[in-house]
């Protein structure tokens, strides 16, 4: 009876996961979807604890067995501690640190799967199937764990240069094959020796590091999404081990959804996944072969203020620099002042602006910018012809016309925001330095373009002050 009820809890939980994920695909229902999935998870967790029945190997219930109170204390202690830490971290983290946080939590899940493997190995030496699930879950979970830690450090800025061993592609591939061979051998030979298991565990840790370390910091979102689906896979293997349906559905769902999401992201960046993992993008400083020519025109803050004040329509193009400078609040202020003066203001959101899909939306939503002012690329592009002033804030690659014009450019073919069609273009950045792709930008030499140099936050704050004074 108890275990029947538990199965129903799991069934319920699985359905909430599917429905929740589905709802998360639509801005209107996304929040509720997340809560549904969370609710299903709570049911599954408490069901597992309170509807537990000890079973022997034949699957019969051992009614005499009593779980020692100490175990319950430990479980509840761990859950309580985890809830407090997780809750506070999630509530306190700055919005700009989201990518770090996601990669962190992903690593925790991977580590959890790895620990399960470490604990279960010796109890399952008699079954090849169980052992295969244990080894696979442990290795994948561990890779996801150590990979996520590296991703965290990179996003964090602690490890800000891609570190590349010579021939790292070949080394990594050989390492991976050896790891798989090692795991397969263990499943076949079933060595009753924990030292060997730990050797595999550490090898997996090293592989996770080797896998992630050569990838540029800005490609981390793709990597995290990939590691995300790894952890999903590790959870699914746990499901195989225990014939536990909710771990299976949850794991497979996230595994397949995560894989697709990874590919969707790569597509939005117009790069194949292999290029993200193996490519040396952005680090070799690949530049298109055209020489930039023409003059650069400066503009100062007060001229910018006057120009904007007398415009009918201003489109703001936010980019990574906006996030770095934490200028999302002041840009909203700018928007409100302009709107007060009767200027129509919109934001042009490029799908890969920033360092994370939807980065700009999250950032601007944080500073209370209305959702309907954020216009996606396809919808805003036809509007630039009727725009008086485009203000590019800390964006670079997403407005680089080389994507249209220069077949030799590494970003050639990526869809961009066609800001060149506007009457005036004002670009705010700190210097003439390149953006993420490491290439020069012809836009800055366009006769319509004026450069407004300086840190985004500082410059925008001044601009707002000037506008108020007008």
């Amino acid at each position: 009876m108890k275990s029947s009820l538990l199965e129903i809890c799991y069934l319920f939980g699985s359905v909430t996961f599917i429905v929740g994920l589905k709802m998360m695909g639509n801005p209107k229902s996304a929040r509720r979807g997340n809560l549904y999935a969370a609710f299903g998870m709570v049911i599954a967790i408490f069901g597992t604890i309170f509807l537990f029945e000890k079973k022997d190997h034949a699957g019969n219930v051992d009614t005499a067995f009593v779980v020692p109170a100490m175990v319950y204390y430990l479980i509840f202690g761990a859950i309580a501690l985890g809830t407090v830490i997780g809750w506070l971290t999630a509530k306190r983290v700055q919005m700009t640190k989201m990518p770090e946080l996601v990669s962190m939590f992903n690593g925790m899940g991977g580590a959890c799967a790895a620990l399960i493997g470490l604990m279960e190995y010796q109890h399952n030496l008699d079954s090849t199937g169980a052992l295969a699930a244990i080894i696979a879950g442990m290795v994948i979970g561990t890779v996801s764990f150590s990979g996520s830690v590296i991703a965290y450090l990179k996003l964090n800025g602690t490890m800000n240069k891609p570190i590349r061993l010579p021939q790292y592609n070949i080394i990594n591939t050989i390492f991976m094959i050896s790891l798989v061979a090692f795991g397969t051998w263990m499943v076949m030979m079933k060595p009753d020796n924990m030292a060997i298991l730990y050797a595999l565990f550490f090898a997996a840790i090293v592989y996770g590091i080797l896998f992630t370390i050569p990838i540029g910091g800005a490609d981390m979102p793709v990597v995290i999404s990939l590691l995300n689906s790894f952890t999903g896979l590790a959870a699914a293997f746990g499901g195989f081990l225990y014939d536990n349906k909710i771990m299976l559905t949850g794991g497979i769902l996230v595994g397949s959804a995560g894989t697709l999401l990874t590919l969707v992201m790569c597509k939005a960046m117009n790069r194949p996944l292999s290029n993200v993992i193996f490519g040396a993008f952005g680090a070799t400083g690949a530049t298109g072969d055209r020489e930039m020519s023409g003059n650069i025109k400066d503009i100062n803050v007060s001229d910018t203020a006057v120009l904007m004040n007398y415009s009918k329509k201003v489109v703001i193009v936010p980019g990574y620099g906006l996030a770095v400078a934490q200028a999302q609040h002041v840009i909203h202020e700018l928007e409100m002042i302009l709107e007060e003066r009767g200027v129509i203001v919109k934001y042009a959101i490029h799908p890969v602006a920033g360092r994370m899909p939807g980065h700009m939306n999250v950032l601007l939503a944080e500073s209370n910018v209305s959702y309907d002012k954020l216009v996606e690329m396809e919808d805003i592009n036809p509007e630039f012809t009727s725009t008086d002033v485009v203000l590019v804030v800390g964006a670079n690659d997403v407005v680089n016309p080389a994507a249209h014009n220069d077949p030799a450019s590494p970003i050639y073919g990526m869809p961009i925001l066609d800001v060149e069609n506007a009457a005036h273009i004002i670009v705010n950045k700190r210097s003439m330095n390149a953006g993420y792709a490491g290439i020069e930008n012809e836009l800055f030499f366009n006769p319509k373009t004026n450069m407004l140099f300086g840190d985004a936050k500082t410059v925008l704050t001044k601009l707002v002050a000037e506008l108020k004074a007008l």
């Binding site: 695909g25 537990f52 175990v71 761990a78 996601v102 620990l115 999401l261 939807g358």
Partner: protein
């Protein structure tokens, strides 16, 4: 070959289960607007925290005299909880801001 065919047929329930789940996973994501990629990723991240169910199960079956195992189990449940709670809360925080104002 024959043993492979038998293996597949023996585990057919599981296979249908996996195939159908993969389809659902893929279908559910298809056509999500770029805007929602980050919260979706983080929501999916929270869902794979379901691995905590396995960790709890290990704990409940544990030999209470094995201190090392207890420590590992405690850690596993703790990390799993972090993944679940942190994941859902942070997703909620992001999505809260997506409201039309």
């Amino acid at each position: 070959m024959e043993s492979l065919i038998n293996l597949v047929s023996e585990h057919r329930e599981m296979l249908y289960f996996v195939i159908l789940s993969v389809f659902v996973g893929i279908e559910v994501i298809g056509g999500v607007p770029t805007v929602l990629h980050t919260p979706l990723m983080s929501g999916a991240n929270a869902i794979h925290g379901v691995v905590i169910v396995g960790a709890i199960y290990v704990m409940l079956n544990i030999d209470p005299s094995n201190v090392f195992a207890l420590v590992l189990g405690f850690l596993a449940v703790l990390l799993g909880t972090l993944n679940v709670v942190g994941g859902f809360v942070v997703t909620d925080r992001m999505l809260e801001m997506f409201k039309k104002k």
